[in-house]
Amino acid sequence: MDTLIRNCEKLSKHQNSSSTKTLLSITQAIEALQTARNNISSGSTPNTDDLVQAKQQVEKAQRQSDEHIRELYTNVSKYGKHVEKAFKLDLSTVGESKAFEDKRDQLGYAILQHFLREGDFILAGEFARENKLDLPQDTKIKFEQMYEIVSKIRAEQHQLEDAIQWTVERREELDIQGNNGLEFTLHRLRFLQLVENGQATDALEYARLWFPRYSKDPGRMDEIKHLMGIFIYAKRLQSSPYAHLFTDQRWEQGARMFAAAFCASMGLAAMSPLGVTIDAGASALPVVCKVSGLMRDRKVEWSQQNELAVEVPLPDSMHFHSVFVCPVSKEQATPDNPPMAMPCGHVVCKASLEKLAHGVRPGTVAFGRFKCPYCPVMSSMADAKKVYF
């Protein structure tokens, strides 16, 4: 990309000089014509020299502007070649998929939900209007509640009381959901805010009020001990070792964390599902594209298959369900072919287990007993127990 940026700058210079020169030669032609015209006085013979001069200037303008513009076009083409080099994927190989046919409304509602979740209610209303969708009132009200609190966090004054109150009221619920980091984050933000505003005594009181409940948690206590040292640097925070705690992003991060917890408590997804899907798509589309090119030759369309042909690597945050792939057969476990644990703790799918069991000759002592593929421990169909991930 930096090649492209540099080439844009070069192109900009070329375009500038080319257009200046072109305009100049045309101006010169105009001036010559004007001179010729003004020197014509009624009654006298026309001034041939002027006219010849004007004609020459016009021809010069014609030649020069042609040259300059051609040069500019060449430079644009050169830039174009650099762009070609940067992109080798052909998105058109991912052809027309019928998956969204007749589903325009569902897509509309998915987008509408996203707009409501992002807090832009006017945008949501506008979109609903332009697409004749009904604005889901109960969802809207929930998000309006959330935004009342979140916008206070984001606003200039960065007011945290409502958020802290909401969080404290739901302490137990958040603990169960594993969201107890939120309360501490909010307390820390408030504590730092008080220190930043020069209210050291208030900050200390705040710490005394809220931090002791973390006394049983060694990790948090370490952080609190570290935080308490900030009073030494109260007057020169920006040059202290604590400067990194005072970034602008901390409010946005706090707001997002609160929004995620709020959504979780409402039974909604923590992050916008539309956003997550698009981010997943950004990883998936290039992968599918590469494979699609190959599938096209065999007249097979990617979206008509039962399963994608390749694995799309996704970050851990996008793994929402357990997926078990049998180490023996490399097949995904399904409800009909569930994962089974042998006594040694190794897990294979039922079909593989059956193959292992039947591999042994009937009538022998060892019938139905087999060795685990991964360790010396013996097992049988009866010993294997179902596993529910």
Binding site: L123, F127, A284, N306
Partner: protein, 397 residues
């Protein structure tokens, strides 16, 4: 894996970078033709004037020169305007390249700056979708609230929609034909017959207006140049002269059908998208379809709501779930286990533990639970309680 695959991220941004480039190319081409035409005309006139200068009265001479001066002045004005446009397009290209360049500076998907960049990308994709669907107010608001003027192709879509509405509503080929004339070279390269289709439609309209002589002249002038590739259709067009607009004979009835105008508008859209490197389907569709597929698992399809994960987009049954219905499932070469309680990965560092009733949870979540429950654990799915010591470790390959 939280690393960012920059090549993949960049791969889908081809239209983002290519559109202003194409717009620039066309602007320069247009300038080239205009300057050539005007300077040639003025040059030729000057030659004429020089030849006949002694025969012309002074006033005549003056007025001719005035005419030429005006012409060049208009050209200069146009050039000044186009120069501005060209310079803005180059600036836009630079800004877009700079935005993509930011990707190199991110280290992991969990970085807040990267997440902010992704949200902006989502906005860009939504703006493109809104412009394509004609939801102009929504598009405008998205552009304004995100300050994304340079990242949205508003002017291009405005041009597309104006020509489309001329075709669909006003039933006029004028704008489309002049667009074809401007882009003839590029259209020939992709072997596009849009211009022929437009000429054909104008010919049909002449027949419909019962203006047979004009229609024949028109066909001679505008349809016959296409005879080496479109002969069968030209022949059918000539035969159309023998039918009236209310005919029920199938191929000829189809030619008179008013719905052809919508077909022309659609074809125009496809062609202009192709020229500007825009995908035929909105990028939103492509990303959603592949994204939903990559996320879709058997659990999402389950009728049992306990199998659904609140955070999983495919499990949003009413909206995205429905969209994902006919899409393929994700493919996995390796197991990926997620604890039902914490949502965290279960691997060698945090192994999966099987309770006597078969349900599996991560060691860390069971350990934490047992600390509060006096050495016992309660299975969230079945409600049964067990001792922590009763859980057995599992090994996944």
């Amino acid at each position: 894996m939280d690393k960012i695959n920059i090549d993949n991220m960049l791969a889908i941004e081809e239209p983002f970078i290519k559109v202003p480039l194409e717009q620039l190319r066309r602007a320069v081409r247009h300038t080239q033709k205009q300057v050539e035409r005007e300077t040639e005309a003025v040059s030729a006139e000057m030659a004429e004037i020089l030849k006949s200068q002694y025969r012309l009265a002074p006033e005549e001479l003056q007025s001719k020169l005035d005419g030429l001066i005006e012409r060049l002045q208009t050209l200069r004005q146009d050039l000044e305007r186009v120069t501005q446009e060209e310079s803005q397009l180059i600036q836009r290209s630079k800004l877009r390249a700079a935005d993509l360049h930011k990707l190199k500076g991110f280290e992991s998907t969990t970085q807040p700056e990267f997440q902010h960049w992704c949200r902006q990308r989502l906005d860009r994709v939504l703006i493109d979708y809104m412009l394509r669907s004609g939801n102009l107010n929504t598009a405008q608001r998205l552009v304004e609230s995100g300050s994304l003027e340079h990242f949205a192709d508003t002017s291009l879509f405005a041009q597309v929609m104006s020509i489309e509405s001329e075709l669909k509503d006003a039933h006029s080929c004028q704008g489309a034909l002049s667009w074809c004339a401007e882009n003839r070279g590029a259209l020939r390269k992709i072997q596009c017959s849009l211009e022929f289709e437009l000429r054909l439609q104008e010919y049909v309209e002449m027949i419909r207006a019962k203006n047979t002589p004009a229609a024949i002249l028109y066909a001679k002038k505008h349809l016959s140049p296409w005879s080496d590739t479109q002969m069968p259709r030209i022949q059918r067009a000539m035969t159309l002269l023998a039918f009236s607009p209310s005919t029920s004979c199938p191929p000829y009835k189809a030619m008179f059908d008013e719905a052809r105008w919508t077909g022309l508008a659609n074809e125009f859209r496809m062609v202009i998208f192709q020229l500007y490197n825009l995908p035929a389907q909105p990028l939103l569709h492509l990303l959603l379809q592949t994204g939903l597929s990559a996320l879709k698992t058997f659990a999402c399809l389950s009728e049992d709501p306990a199998e659904h994960n609140r955070n999983c987009p495919v499990c949003q049954t009413e909206t995205l779930g429905k969209l994902a219905q006919d899409l393929p499932l994700s493919h996995h070469d390796n197991s990926n286990l997620v604890c039902r309680i914490t949502g965290e990965k279960m691997d060698e560092d945090n192994p999966p533990m099987r309770l006597p009733n078969g349900y599996v949870y991560s060691l860390s979540s069971l350990t934490e639970m047992s600390a509060t429950l006096d050495g016992k654990v309660k299975c969230p799915r079945s409600g049964k309680t067990f001792k922590l010591s009763e859980a057995t470790k599992l090994f996944i390959s």
